[in-house]
Symmetry: C2
Subunit: 228 residues, 2 copies
């Protein structure tokens, strides 16, 4: 199966959680919007009245006849086919539950620099961002990290572990001082991050041009004033 | 099957989307935290190290051996068992995709009165709320309503339609002036709201004491200054 991923071409964003799964599995896929005229193709498909299951927003995935949106749902469907999730219902439900909690966490990261409106510039909501980011650093971040640290996940790597790698990676970019202070308390998550980064196909991907660098348009942004 | 729902006892909140499905189906369930010492039972279960699939937060559902969290996932699992979703994979995926978009919408409603921190009082983030709510009313609300209005959903009622009923109901409570102005543009959603409200078991539920009234602790709150 040749998968088509549709996502904004200049940021890691939500699409990166799906890219990591596809890359780790060595799956055949096209990152459609990164091709010439790809964004137009994505916008055309999203607006198409012929589509029976239209996405509200990118990312979405096309696999044959199926068009499916929402990051966590895409992974729920895709990962068993990539060998990155068990095929049993109970196992899949539990991974999906964790991934949905990661989605909630990611919204809170995004809102540290966009607490007022996603259509406004950061500069136009900077004072509100300072307050929201402080609350995130002091209260919310630890709550999520405590939760995922406490889970007993064994040595197995699924798409949830790939996503937790991405969270740690992004949080280090966005909140380097905060993370440096917190990390000693989270040996399980840090060990997990290292094990994922060392996976052969993923290590190659992370050094490739296919991996978009973190930048100031994505979900994880490095504004020093929002860090510790 | 006798289901156990765990959710905060004094608000509709996220738990209400699950209550609506259980009530519409006439399912046998216990709203655990609304019983004497129920909140303690909920907190104890959440913190239990014996639980293999611990929730990050309520709501969660217990069904025999299964403990499952995240509103949209609970509905995804539960609804086919209640006759409120098809059993085919494609049909279930499409409903789940829509429900996850409703979850995103609901977060944005919540953040109109809590743009800075969920642990702070509204009064301590009121000026930020005024800005966030204006952005929600002027940009975001219409984007979600346009999306759901445009979907061709036929006459069939699934858990997604019950959830859309609850969104309209809540938005009318929180933003009465805004909704009064918008509703004529959304005949499909308004018709859907009426059809759901008229379902016999649901109509009985909505008039019963089991239906918690909207109030100023829930996700939908009536602060006139945040309305038009």
């Amino acid at each position: 199966m040749r998968y088509e991923l549709y996502y904004w071409p200049s940021i890691q964003g939500r699409g990166e959680f799906i890219r990591l799964a596809l890359e780790d599995a060595g799956a055949e896929y096209v990152d459609v919007a990164r091709r010439p005229r790809g964004v137009q193709a994505m916008m055309r498909l999203m607006a198409s009245r012929a589509l029976k299951t239209p996405p509200f927003a990118p990312p979405f995935l096309r696999a044959g006849e199926l068009v499916i949106a929402q990051t966590a749902l895409i992974l729920h469907w895709l990962a068993p086919r990539l060998g990155l999730a068990p095929k049993s219902e109970a196992g899949r439900l539990w991974l999906h539950q964790q991934q949905l909690t990661i989605s909630d966490w990611l919204v809170e990261v995004h809102d540290t620099h966009h607490p007022i409106g996603s259509g406004l510039y950061y500069e136009d909501q900077k004072s509100e961002s300072l307050r929201r980011a402080a609350d995130f650093r002091e209260n919310r971040l630890r709550k999520f990290m405590d939760y995922f640290e406490r889970l007993d996940r064994g040595r197995n790597i699924t798409y949830v572990e790939l996503s937790l790698f991405q969270m740690i990676e992004g949080l280090r970019y966005a909140f380097p001082q905060t993370m440096a202070a917190l990390e000693p308390e989270y040996p399980g998550l840090i060990d997990l991050h290292e094990r994922v980064a060392a996976r052969p196909r993923l290590a190659l991907y992370l050094r490739s041009k296919r991996r978009i660098a973190f930048n100031q348009q994505g979900i994880f942004r490095a504004y020093p004033e929002l860090d510790a």
